[in-house]
């Protein structure tokens, strides 16, 4: 059974349709990137999943149960939405003590999670003085308190410095390695590419695709860029070999379906001088933007 199942989910705010007939499912233990540009409906979907926003139509369930029906929701699902959502006048420790009491977990977990997110030193400071990155860490600490099976993170990298982003990536990987499910939203595919193994991509409130990350990039690379005074001759030879060659300017070509080594060997065999050879691996950002463009075009059509 899917651990998260979204079926025909729709949300309208007045006449604005934020999410339209969205369906996807997530299997246990998967680390899934929930992607889309700003305003795509990611946060609204997550809030519907978590029972904070009432869907106009459709359902969003955890193993068949709506969030509101879970007996101990914090033990099943840990969520970070909008940073920590902590009272600015409370210290991080006070905030986590309250959350521990709510979740019904022993107070000893507070120190454990503070240590886990690197906030032990700031535990007794008021959260009102925290940076955005510290608030994100505090939000994660609260979400991890009850050691939930599912972690839902809405744009968790916002406000984190590069070291923080790496830390977050490792935390998500550790959580996943323990067999837990993670759904992490982002507007940047490249940002989550090293963490997730599956993506659900959203644009204008509609599903663009749900796919494994490998499948998303399959058949899209790498490309070798060549500059040569005899580019036309080289192009003919490579085309005869079955490579896909595109002309770029008077002395440049882009070659798909071959490798830099093979191209160098053919050029040497035919005494064709090669001035420049650059291999470009598939760019996830380009893949993402291409998907967005395709979905925009489909909508216009």
């Amino acid at each position: 059974m899917s651990v998260i199942e979204v079926v025909g989910l729709t949300k309208c705010f007045g006449t604005t349709s934020a999410v339209q007939d969205l369906s996807f499912s997530i299997e246990p233990g998967a680390v899934v990137g929930f992607l889309g540009p700003n305003g795509a409906g990611k946060t609204t979907t997550l809030r519907m999943l978590l029972g904070l926003v009432e869907p106009t139509a459709g359902t969003a369930t955890f193993a068949g149960c709506r969030y509101q029906e879970l007996s101990q929701p914090l033990r099943h699902v840990g969520a970070v939405l909008d940073g920590s959502n902590a009272h600015p006048g409370r210290s991080a420790r006070q905030h986590l003590h309250i959350q521990a009491a709510v979740a019904g977990v022993p107070v000893v977990r507070v120190d454990e999670v503070l240590d886990c997110v690197g906030l032990t030193g700031a535990a007794d400071r008021r959260t009102g003085g925290f940076s955005l990155g510290m608030r994100q860490r505090l939000g994660l600490a609260a979400a991890l308190l009850a050691e939930p099976e599912i972690l839902i993170l809405d744009e968790p990298a916002n406000g984190l410095d590069p070291e923080g982003v790496r830390w977050l990536r490792e935390l998500v990987r550790r959580h996943a390695a323990d067999g837990h499910t993670v759904l992490v939203s982002s507007h940047n595919l490249a940002e989550v590419a090293q963490t997730v193994d599956e993506v659900v991509i959203l644009n204008r409130g509609q599903l663009v695709t749900q796919s494994r990350l490998d499948d998303l990039t399959a058949g899209k690379g790498p490309i070798v860029r060549i500059r040569s005074p005899r580019a036309a001759d080289l192009r003919a030879l490579l085309t005869a070999e079955g490579a896909t060659v595109t002309e770029v300017g008077p002395d440049g070509i882009e070659v798909g379906g071959s490798t830099a080594e093979r191209i160098a060997a053919i050029a040497a065999e035919h005494a064709i001088p090669v001035v420049e050879s650059t291999t470009e691996t598939v760019n996830l950002e380009d893949v993402f933007f291409a998907l967005m463009r395709a979905s925009d075009t489909a909508e216009v059509a």
Partner: protein
């Protein structure tokens, strides 16, 4: 439910605003009780040596009770103002349970406000009586009864505040609204229609503490000759109905709104 109430009380204990409102309640109670005591005996105001004169000082708990009401409002509206409602409802998705727990926790805190207000004004009255060398004209049972009434009124008004705050959600608007209603609105209505004064909710709540109709904020209460307040049971029932009504209305309308 007891666990949820305990959590709401823990939230109150770890919020500076709670202490700010509490000390403001004590300070205003001292100030206005002292002013009432200083004026006792002047012109038509009964002297402190009389039962009416001492009661006019010992029951000036209007501000303590008003701040209990404000505390109740902040308990529910604060969650939306500070964005903490998201976590609260993630932890307890059944929102009516949260509302009930907040009302009960606020009632406990409101009772503390009412009790502190009652004790403070009584002590101020007794200090002035002692300073003038007068005898204490009110029996201890009466004084304790007034303090108990103030405690009960504080609890009920804080619960009313939670319901109103859930209904309105905007903290500033709700607080300004209750200030205008309690300090001006009820006085004006009482002035225009004296027969309804004792049925107005805040006035009724203060009458639980022994205040005369119209005498809750600034005494000279002894000089007020309005209609008699409602009997204790009827007054308590009326304020409790307002608390329940506000909460039920909130549960039926604003409580299910999206948390975006």
């Amino acid at each position: 439910m007891p666990r949820l109430v305990g959590i709401e009380l823990l939230k109150l204990r770890t919020t500076r605003l709670t202490y700010g409102l509490f000390f403001a309640a004590i300070g205003l109670s001292i100030l206005f009780a002292a002013m009432a005591a200083a004026r006792a005996g002047a012109r038509s105001i009964p002297p402190l040596a009389s039962a009416a004169g001492l009661a006019a000082v010992s029951v000036v708990v209007g501000y303590a009770l008003l701040l209990a009401l404000v505390l109740g409002i902040t308990v529910s509206t604060g969650e939306f103002r500070l964005g903490t409602a998201t976590l609260t409802y993630l932890a307890t998705p059944k929102r009516t349970m949260v509302l009930a727990a907040k009302a009960l926790a606020a009632a406990v805190a409101g009772a503390v406000f009412g009790f502190a207000g009652g004790i403070t004004t009584t002590v101020v009255g007794l200090v002035f009586v002692a300073a003038k060398g007068d005898h204490v004209a009110l029996g201890s049972a009466t004084l304790v009864g007034h303090i108990a009434g103030a405690t009960f009124a504080g609890a009920l008004l804080a619960a009313v505040g939670v319901g109103l705050g859930s209904l309105v959600r905007g903290q500033l608007g709700a607080v300004i609204g209750v200030f205008l209603w309690t300090v001006i609105g009820e006085s004006v209505l009482d002035g225009i229609y004296p027969s309804i004064g004792r049925y107005l909710p805040f006035t009724t709540a203060t009458s639980l503490a022994g205040s005369k109709v119209g005498g809750a904020f600034y005494a000279a209460g002894g000089a007020i000759s309005g209609p008699a307040p409602l009997p204790f049971g009827a007054a308590a029932a009326l304020v409790a109905v307002v608390a329940v009504l506000a909460s039920v209305l909130a549960a039926a309308t604003t409580l299910s709104r999206d948390i975006t």
